[in-house]
């Protein structure tokens, strides 16, 4: 009923209460920018953690006398573990070549190697897992008598403390960002709720007059609901544009740190529907809820 009139009234109200409309949209934009800042912080935190995790691995050094069959058996076993995301095998010759290259400037070591004759080094298997905590599982899985005889060493022992620390930091950072998100959400809720409440409070006399001339609750509240929708669309669009320009500006600086191109803008575009959708949904529901709650007291009689 009278949807056209309700839409007309909502546009009239927006234009005729321009300063109030402007302030409402401005506050919505500021809140959305805060949330977007948090999203950027999360993306950068995730990227940092991922970079650190990528640099961790476990090297399994095989005994030089280990047979190819036995080595293959260990490789098959490691590959079958669900925690393993990547494995790189270096043959004895590749290990020797790498060793020589590493110590090419140290003639004593190279001479000693030549004196020994042949290749005293065993092959190596480098393993990466999904999470740092999974390394311990790999080590435990390989610590069986059957494999002990062919595995000379595992480097996990040296990096265990570092991995533990990264694990702890990862969990703490995640907890912190969740807490920060919750805090921002609460602040956003309170500010938006109060903004809408004040906007409706300033129009309480008008609401009363509309009721006196026989307007139904739907006819009175309809324009506010349409206004909520319009304010949400405008604020989300403006925030998205500002966010895009900001990310574009920040990307070159971020690329230097992570050695990867356009991390932020790539994230923005690959998640654009989700980001805009979730922000639109949250703000619209929040403004809608705030409007209904704020108006309820003026619509009782």
């Amino acid at each position: 009923m009278s949807v056209g009139r309700i839409i007309k009234f909502s546009f009239q109200d927006i234009v005729r209460n321009m300063s109030l409309s402007f302030m409402t949209v401005l506050i919505l934009i500021l809140m959305l920018l805060s949330i977007n800042t948090l999203i950027i912080v999360r993306v950068l935190t995730d990227q940092s953690i991922r970079s650190v995790k990528d640099q961790i691995d476990v090297s399994i050094y095989f005994d030089p006398t280990a047979t190819d069959e036995k080595i293959q058996e260990v490789r098959d076993f490691v590959s079958s573990l669900p925690e393993v995301t990547e494995e790189r095998y270096l043959s004895k010759d590749e290990v020797l070549a790498e060793f020589k290259e590493t110590y090419s400037g140290n003639t004593e070591i190279i001479d000693s190697l030549d004196e020994l004759g042949g290749n005293p080094l065993g092959s190596t298997l480098i393993v990466k897992t999904r999470e740092p905590k999974d390394y311990q599982k790999i080590i435990t899985a390989l610590s069986v008598p059957e494999y002990e005889s062919i595995i000379e060493a595992k480097t996990f022992g040296d990096t265990e403390t570092a991995i533990d620390r990264i694990q702890t930091i990862t969990v703490q950072v995640e907890r912190f960002t969740y807490a920060l998100t919750a805090l921002f959400a609460i602040i956003a809720f309170v500010i938006i709720f109060n903004t809408i409440r004040v906007a409706i409070y300033t129009q309480r006399t008008e609401i009363g007059i509309k009721r006196l001339v026989g307007a139904t609750n739907w006819f009175i509240s309809g324009p506010y609901l349409v206004e909520s929708f319009i304010f949400t669309v405008v604020s989300v669009v403006i925030t998205s544009v500002i966010a895009w320009f900001t990310l574009k500006f920040l990307d070159p600086y971020v690329s230097v740190i992570f050695e990867s191109e356009a991390i932020l803008t790539n994230y923005f575009f690959s998640h654009i529907l989700f980001l805009i959708g979730i922000q639109f949904g949250a703000v619209f529901l929040l403004t809608l809820f705030s409007s209904m709650l704020a108006m309820r007291r003026y619509l009782r009689t």
């Binding site: 009139r5 008008e206 007059i209 001339v213 026989g214 139904t216």
Partner: protein, 237 residues
């Protein structure tokens, strides 16, 4: 104006032992019984706090009685539902001392609004509103906003707004309270004209001169009770 006269229906107002208690020691109305015939012009007078505004609020269902019953045109509104309140208010025109105009809407929009909320078609609104504005003498100020009008003009806009529904009853709560004597006289003349067309008028006022000049029925309220009800009364408190 003929279209207006022909569409006026005659309604009566009946209050039976109506009381309104806000709290133990705050009583708005105390067992008020009142019967107003269709087409009557009734002045309700009394000192401040005697229940005049409470009476008006009950007639438009802004407040509900604690006891008793209220009937308007055979419709018992004592326990009217929230859903039916807008329908009631479209049947009764109300004007107030503070005009209660929408400040961000023009004269035309303020008057049209009363029809728009009722779902009246645009074509019909365009026919009715200019004619009613002409009746109250504001046809030349349709694009003005309330703050661009004098008090008398604002009250005339309020009257026009209350008339567009072709109400059976017009309740005027201190309509001249904020006006000078010239504007007061103009507003009273308009109310008399509306009454001549058949609309029942209930005028709540403090103004002794108006009541004495009208020479119509006067109901006197005191401490929430009807203490006097005379057919051709005068202002006596």
């Amino acid at each position: 104006m003929l279209y207006y006269i022909s569409l006026v229906y005659f309604f009566m107002i009946t209050l039976k032992n109506v009381s309104k208690h806000y709290s133990h020691d705050s009583i708005g109305l105390n067992e008020v019984s009142l019967h107003i015939e269709p087409g009557e012009f009734v002045s309700v007078v009394g000192q401040s706090g005697t229940g005049k505004t409470t009476l008006v609020k009950m007639l438009i269902a802004e407040e509900r009685p604690t006891a008793g019953s209220i009937e308007i045109g055979g419709w018992n509104i004592t326990k009217i539902s929230l859903h039916d309140i807008p329908l009631l208010r479209r049947q009764i025109g109300v004007i107030f001392q503070d005009f209660k105009l929408l400040p961000k809407r023009t004269v035309l929009e303020n008057v049209s609004f009363a029809l728009e909320v009722a779902g009246e078609k645009r074509k019909r609104i365009n026919q009715i509103v200019p004619r009613v504005l002409e009746i109250v003498g504001l046809a030349h100020k349709v694009e003005r906003y309330p703050h661009q009008l004098s008090g008398g003009e604002q009250q005339r806009v309020a009257i026009a707004r209350s008339l567009v529904h072709r109400p059976k009853i017009l309740v005027a709560d201190e309509p001249t309270g904020n006006l000078d004597s010239i504007n007061t006289q103009e507003i009273i003349e308009i109310l008399k004209k509306i009454n001549e067309f058949g609309t029942t008028i209930m005028l709540v006022t403090h103004n002794r001169e108006i009541v004495n000049q009208l020479k119509r029925r006067v109901v006197v309220l005191h401490d929430g009770r009807v203490v006097s009800d005379e057919r051709e009364g005068r202002y006596r408190i």
